[in-house]
Amino acid sequence: MGMTIEGGCLCGAVRYRATAPPVSRSICHCRSCRRASGAPSVAWSTFHVNSLVFTHGMPVRYRSSPDVMRTFCGVCGTQLTYRHDEDVDSIDITTATLDAPEQFPPTKEIWIEHKLPWERANEAMRHYPRTSTG
């Protein structure tokens, strides 16, 4: 039996579907994620790039640093994906744009170095000063 995970932006102009569960789930406290989302921190679900397809519309791309591409809905502005050029097999989806975000709790918090002082880290998760790889 196949697994289908769906999500999309606030206005519905962009929709996506994943055919396999995320390979990892994190909360990122970095300054760029904060600036892009407007929120204190962002939750990401990382999928294998071959398991994710856009089923309606396509997001707008913005290169937020030399090796990072973020995308968003051009109609409503919802932040949708993150890709790092060196990690060609992965695409991160904003967990909050999944239709059932409650089913995908993060297991780790990254970029704790940039965390806002009034946001407390969740002691049940693993913490990393910067990225959780390398």
């Binding site: 407007g38 051009g74 502005g77 919802t78």
Partner: protein, 144 residues
């Protein structure tokens, strides 16, 4: 002469910038479905500046009408989530705290729409929590 209060901020790419010359009226963390979906984050936080203290600089945000009484602002170039405007709070500009150049300078007063909170996300503070809107501001019954 007292030091002038200045808060500045803008989007990730710098196309949209703003400046406020007063302390925020209020800071709030919102857990509603609309804020979560629009930002892509588990919860969104805002500070409210008095409208007469606030100026957009450079390119204006794009506005998306998310309900009958609210609009959501974002940068058309980089997609950064910038703020919200509501008819019922026309005396103020609500900007997302992540857009501030120095977000640690602002204070958060309470949490709203906790009935919609995603179960695995909490900020661990002891601030007042409201299942729907805060009693600190006028509001309509619906979220948006």
């Amino acid at each position: 002469m007292p030091d002038e209060v200045i808060f500045e901020g803008g989007c990730l790419c710098g196309e949209v910038r703003y400046r406020a010359t007063a302390e925020p009226l209020r800071g709030v963390i919102c857990h509603c479905d609309t804020c979560r979906r629009h930002s892509g984050a588990p919860a969104l936080a805002f500070v409210h500046f008095p409208a007469d203290s606030f100026t957009w600089i450079g390119t204006m945000p794009s506005w998306f009408r998310s309900s009958a009484h609210a609009e959501r602002g974002f940068c058309a170039r980089c997609g950064s989530t910038l703020g919200m405007r509501e008819d019922v709070l026309a005396d103020r500009v609500q900007v997302c705290i992540g857009s501030l150049d120095e977000p640690a300078r602002v204070r958060i007063d309470d949490h709203v729409w906790t009935r919609s909170r995603v179960p695995w996300f909490d900020t661990g503070d002891r601030l007042p929590r409201f299942e729907r809107s805060s009693t600190a501001v006028p509001s309509l019954s619906d979220d948006g």
